[in-house]
């Protein structure tokens, strides 16, 4: 249940560390709350310092504190039901940053993701994750 002001950990290597949700897209369906597999608009609250070499190059993606980006939720602390009745919940909320065309900004994912992503159409993220549960 990710809504306004919810914080999520970022588990890809885009450079952001913590993002805060500002808006859940497609919220006519889910009453304003986001769950695994939903796209959100978020603000980067804390980011890794951009190394000097990267700062010089103009082609690399630079995620800084205060950026407004899109992300997809990959783990929620709120339990999620699977179609066979199982219930899964994680210890934290996590997201992966995206650009406006629903493509990932980072290149690697460091952490487990929920298998519900596959059902919502994020197969690329599921294939990059080290562990899917």
């Amino acid at each position: 249940m990710i809504g306004l002001k919810s914080t999520l950990n970022v588990i890809d290597n885009s450079g952001a560390l913590i993002v805060e949700c500002v808006n859940v897209l497609k919220n006519k369906v889910n009453n304003g709350w986001g769950s695994v597999g939903d796209e959100i608009v978020c603000v980067v609250k804390r980011a890794r310092p951009v190394p000097a070499a990267l700062q010089a190059s103009s082609t690399a993606v630079k995620v800084r504190q205060g950026d407004v980006r899109r992300a997809v939720i990959v783990r929620t602390a709120k339990s999620v039901r699977r179609p066979d009745g199982r219930v899964i919940k994680f210890d934290d909320n996590a997201a992966v940053l995206l650009n406006n065309k629903r493509e990932m900004l980072g290149t690697r994912i460091g952490g487990i993701v929920s298998a519900d992503l596959r059902m919502k159409g994020w197969g690329k993220i599921v294939s990059l994750a080290p562990k899917v549960l």
């Binding site: 339990s79 066979d84 199982r86 899964i88 210890d91 952490g111 487990i112 562990k131 549960l133």
Partner: protein, 173 residues
């Protein structure tokens, strides 16, 4: 409503082995046994459902692993592995709680994977649950048998990762 249920049962029993006319590959399960006389009068519906709803293999699981008094029952704090019919095929974890509701019995396993805690709740009567294996019990006083937990629901383990690692210390996964 109950008389309608009995009429429907009687009807399905009368057509026990008639082939299904609309499909050759449809699987028709065998009709359930005749309801006892007491059930037809509306007595004892819930105990009847508790005996008949789960399949015989699941009923055996419920009677041994999830009963309250059986000597081989599961104790909270034991480490289990659940084998499912579909991917991901196995999930291991510490048993945090058992929720006993007859056919609706379920249990919660907690594990820490890639530094993130994951909890999964499995329903015993689900056809997807193929097998439940006990990796480490929780009956004895430590060592291979595992420490006996003094609580039925171990939700305090969510806040203490050191106690979680103490439980899983002796296991080679």
């Amino acid at each position: 409503m109950l008389s309608g249920l009995c009429r429907g049962l009687a009807r399905s029993m009368s057509t026990a082995t008639a082939p299904y006319p609309f499909s050759k590959v449809a699987i028709i399960p065998p009709a359930p046994a005749a309801p006892p006389a007491a059930l037809r009068q509306g007595k004892g519906l819930m105990p009847y459902l508790q005996r008949t709803l789960p399949s015989p293999e699941k009923q055996k699981l419920l009677d041994t692993l999830f009963s309250r008094r059986h000597p081989d029952r599961l104790l909270p704090g034991s480490v289990l592995t659940v084998i499912l019919n579909h991917a991901p095929t196995t999930f291991s974890g510490v048993l945090l709680s058992i929720r006993r509701r007859g056919p609706d019995t379920s249990f919660v396993l907690r594990n820490v994977i890639n530094r993130t805690g994951v909890e999964m709740q499995f329903f015993v009567s689900s056809p997807h649950v193929k097998e439940i294996k006990v990796v480490q019990g929780a009956g004895g006083s430590g060592g291979k048998q595992g420490r006996r937990m003094r609580r039925a629901k171990l939700f305090y383990l969510r806040d203490s990762p050191e106690k979680m690692s103490a439980i899983s210390a002796g296991i080679k996964n």
